[in-house]
Structure formats: structure tokens, C-alpha cells
């Protein structure tokens, strides 16, 4: 689930290439590093850290909840660790559903719950060499 550095094109491609049995809809969310400005300084990259054991357990729970609540078939989540530069992908969620509505709802649920419950932390490295800590807007 966690990979070092940005999510590669091969992972992005492979995520959509696999069709689950009974799948009629596949929804994908790709999170990228936004070119934010913090106190007049441009964000160069974000360095991600995590307590991965907890994050992986929580993510499994969230996916199970997605199955229970929306009837999705399955879901996969990838997140970067280490430095990811502006524009590069750092977060990928793929949801497989029987129909588009459950796939849409399941995707939104998993993305939001992951951001809220999974222990991942982002250190925004600024152009002047200082840093600030990323805060999620829920």
C-alpha cells in the first residue's frame, strides 16, 4: 500500500487494467501535490511519513466499511512515503463496483475516511528551506 516516492505510471496503469469479477464500474481518485504557497513561499515538495502498521490496518477497515455501506466489490489504496514533488501523484484509490453509484459513493467514502483516520503526515518543504506541516481540510 505504501510506496517510496511518487506513485509511478506503471502503478497508475495497472490499477485500471485489472477487472474484478462482476465489476461494471471502476472509479479512480488520484491525489497530487498542489503548488500551494505558505507565507509567501512556494511549496517544493511534501515529505510523507506514517505509522504504516496502523495505517494499513485502518485502510483495511475502511475498505471493509465501504463494502458494507455501499456494496462495492473491492478497493485498492496506494500512498507515497518520502518526498513527492509538486504535480506528482501521492495518493491513489481505485474502487470496483457493480454499478456506478456504489463506485462513486465508495470512492468518496474511502478517500475521505483515509484522510481523516489513517496516520499519514506531510511535511511541506518550502523554497527557502523552511517547512510547515500539512493540515487536511475535511
Amino acid at each position: 500500500m505504501f510506496i517510496e516516492g511518487p506513485i509511478s505510471d506503471s502503478i497508475l496503469g495497472a490499477a485500471t487494467a485489472v477487472a474484478k469479477e462482476g465489476c461494471g464500474a471502476q472509479t479512480i481518485f488520484v491525489g497530487r501535490i498542489r503548488p500551494d504557497r505558505m507565507e509567501n513561499q512556494q511549496v517544493q515538495c511534501i515529505e510523507f511519513t506514517s505509522q504504516t502498521a496502523i495505517a494499513e490496518q485502518v485502510t483495511r477497515e475502511i475498505i471493509e466499511e465501504g463494502k458494507q455501506k455501499f456494496g462495492i466489490i473491492s478497493a485498492e489504496v496506494w500512498h507515497s512515503l518520502g518526498k513527492v514533488y509538486v504535480g506528482q501523484p501521492c495518493f491513489l484509490v481505485v474502487v470496483h463496483g457493480h454499478h456506478r453509484n456504489e463506485a462513486y459513493q465508495g470512492l468518496e467514502y474511502i478517500v475521505n475516511e483515509f484522510k481523516h483516520r489513517s496516520p499519514v503526515f506531510g511535511k511541506e518543504l518550502l523554497e527557502d528551506g523552511t517547512h510547515s506541516w500539512k493540515k487536511n481540510r475535511h
Partner: protein, 167 residues
Amino acid sequence: MNYGSKATTFSSKKTYFFKRSITIQHLFMPLSEPLFARVVFCRASPSNRSVPVLKKTAIFAKQNSGEFLGTGLVPAIRTRRQSACLFEMKVHVNYYGLLTDAASCSSEVVTLKNGSTLQNLQEQLRAKYSEFAPITLAFFVANKRCPANVPLKEGQVIDCMPPFAGG
């Protein structure tokens, strides 16, 4: 470690010695029974700065030759430092995200009173690091998020986290 020259409740004619460095095994100290401590007795020559404290008891009667004499429970007459071992515990705290900046470290050992809870740990950390004040902290023990009233144990590893910011 002066275990206590007043610990003369064992009556016998023979005097034994224990070495300062190895006599009291902290791991064996029964924390639930603070009136007693389990110790390892060794015979030591007067030349190696051992401290004579206890006289032989029936427990050790057959073990009067050789270096190692055995272990046993003895009344706990303690120095302040020894009392600390009995009434305090240490836990290992890992910090994440902005807490690593606030604490200037990613982990540390924190000493708490025996019987402390996560709430006590949180109060102690907030008192130690003023930068923690505006931060909502989450605590995980054995990879599970725990409420504030959970009692802590000696040697536990605790993950202390600020609000998450992935995605």
C-alpha cells in the same frame, strides 16, 4: 545501591554480602508488593567494595559456597532511588508529524507514576512541551487507538500523533 544496612531481620551468625552492581535485579522486583523486593545474593570479598547487609536465613543456608548464593524476598528498606524503581514506570513514546518538531525528537522514554493512564501521560507531555497545547493528540498502544482512561504498563510503546494529513 545501598540496599539498607538496617535490613537485619534475618537472624544468623553468618554475614553475606552483595555487589552493588548486580545484587538487586530490578526486573524481579514485585511492583505489586512494594513491601518486598526480590534480590540476588552473592558472596563477595571485602576488597571489592561490596556492602554487608544481610545475615543468612534458612533460604540460603545450603548456598554458602561459591559466588552465587541464590535469590529471595527480603523486606524492602529502600533508598530513594530504589523506591523510584518500585513506584515509577517508564514507557517509550513515539512522536509523529509536527510533534517531532515540538518535542525536538521522534521518540523518548517517559517516566510516570505506577498506575498512570494515557490521560496522565498526556498531561505530563503537555506540561513538558508547551507547543503541544493547541494540538489534538491521539494515542495508540499496540497499534490500537486507546481512550484516555487506559492504564499504562512498564515498558509499553505508545504512539503519540497529531491530526492526520495524508492524501
